[in-house]
């Protein structure tokens, strides 16, 4: 009888290994490579700093560069591509919240990183983002001046400013900042699972963050290098 269950080849084990890592495994992998390529010890605080910088850099990449394209003579240099891959990676960070508007102003949420969309609270109307230098043109516009069914906003400091002035609430859909990951330890560098903070990213993004962490530390690897090293770490149980 032919088994339909995939055999546990070494590459398959490796795949699971590299895709499904907790913060301890990421720390061990990065430490191993720092030791191998730089011959130095990676302090936990340095690792925590590097991995958090890496995940913020990765979030910035996903939300800021994945939509770059040229269409005819127009160029869209920012934003994110809402395809399955990018959207799946970012879904953990996408949040929805209600804003209370006072004197046309509403404060950004405390964990705000980048905006995705703004709507009226009933979801019936989009609130369009307008650059600060175009507010005058919109407010006094004879065709589509802002109304309660066609409102606009702009970003001013840590606030959003809305038009028309009668708008009292809004719904914001935004990317929150990722929580700072932490490899915590007790005593003689023994992994402290209770006080550690795991990455919030989906598992398929862990390797991207490892790459970026290594880059921040100063190690630039090709895929093959990382795969071989990961396999070594796994086989050696380090």
């Amino acid at each position: 009888m032919v088994s339909l269950v995939m055999p546990c080849h070494s590459w398959w084990g490796f795949f699971v290994y590299i895709c499904n890592m907790n913060i301890n495994e990421i720390y061990k992998l990065v430490s191993y490579m720092v030791d191998k390529y730089q011959g130095t010890y990676l302090a936990p605080d340095d690792f925590n700093m590097a991995v958090n910088a890496a995940q913020r850099q990765y979030l910035n990449f996903l939300t800021g560069e994945t939509a770059e394209f040229n269409q005819g003579t127009r160029r869209a240099p920012g934003g994110f591509s809402n395809d399955v891959t990018t959207g799946g990676s970012l879904s953990n960070f996408l949040k929805e919240g209600n804003l209370t508007i006072t004197s046309q102003l509403a404060a950004q949420p405390a964990d705000f990183y980048k905006i995705s969309a703004m709507r009226t609270t009933d979801d019936d109307y989009a609130i369009r983002r307008v650059g600060a230098d175009k507010i005058y043109a919109y407010v006094s516009n004879p065709i589509d001046n802002p109304t309660n069914t066609d409102p606009i906003y702009t970003e001013i400091g840590s606030n959003f400013k809305f038009w028309p002035s009668t708008l009292s609430t809004a719904k914001i859909i935004y990317f929150k900042k990722p929580a700072d990951a932490k490899w915590a330890y007790t005593g003689d560098l023994v992994y402290d699972v209770a006080n550690s903070v795991q990455l919030e990213w989906p598992e398929n993004d862990h390797m991207d963050i490892v790459y970026r962490t290594l880059g921040i530390i100063g190690i630039n690897l090709k895929d093959g290098d990382l795969i071989r090293i990961s396999q070594t770490v796994k086989n050696d149980g380090q």
């Binding site: 005819g72 003579t73 969309a117 609130i127 369009r128 230098d133 065709i143 589509d144 066609d150």
Partner: protein, 207 residues
């Protein structure tokens, strides 16, 4: 089909799919183009009728009736006037504005007589029955020459209507002209899309 549905079709063609929340081509902007395109196809309909049938005609579908248009008196000229919903199209007399009447409750049931603004001096000089009311359009105003006091009265106007800001209103256009309107609007929008937007606020006009 409502204007909103038609606008959504146009926006999807413009954006190559369902527009994002950050789409800056607003429904009102598209509606402004539709207003102009509808006026154009109404004129095409009028000239087509002359070319094909040899008679002046505008499809009845283009007409709408507007009620409760209040009338005021101009102190300088002594004429009466009301504000039309839009500037009438430049079709032959009786086609842009087909009918002007008054509600029966006003006691002014007889239809006023359309005249040209160029005939006004002549009519001012001739005797006329006191019950007769003449009207002529000037821009967005409809003027009346009347010996009966029209202040406080309201009029009913039936005219070719191509403008509205009510996006839930039905498109009052024969279905066969919808593709023409679509093409006209998309031609406007092609220019919009091909023109680089000056998105840099550096004090230099890059038009």
């Amino acid at each position: 089909m409502t204007r909103k549905v038609f606008i959504e079709q146009i926006r999807r063609l413009y954006y190559g799919g369902v527009p994002n929340d950050d789409a800056n081509l607003s429904e009102k902007e598209v509606n402004a183009y539709i207003n102009e395109a509808m006026a154009y196809v109404a004129k095409v309909n009028y000239t087509d009728a002359i070319k094909l049938d040899g008679i002046e005609s505008v499809s009845d579908v283009f007409y709408l009736t507007f009620k409760n248009l209040s009338i005021t008196r101009d102190a300088d000229t002594g004429y009466y006037s009301l504000d039309l919903p839009q500037v009438p199209l430049g079709l032959a007399r009786g086609y842009g504005i087909s009918t002007v009447t008054f509600p029966t409750s006003t006691g002014l049931a007889k239809s006023p007589i359309p005249i040209s603004v160029r005939e006004l001096d002549y009519l001012d000089a001739v005797k006329q029955p006191p019950s007769k009311i003449f009207y002529w359009p000037e821009g967005k105003k409809l003027w009346f020459k009347s010996y009966v006091n029209l202040v406080g009265k309201s009029a009913i106007v039936r005219m070719v209507s191509t403008e509205t800001s009510d996006l839930d209103a039905e498109l009052n256009v024969p279905q066969e002209y919808i593709p023409d309107i679509m093409n006209l609007v998309l031609n406007y929008l092609k220019v919009r899309k091909a023109t680089l937007e000056d998105s840099v606020n550096d004090g230099v006009d890059k038009a």
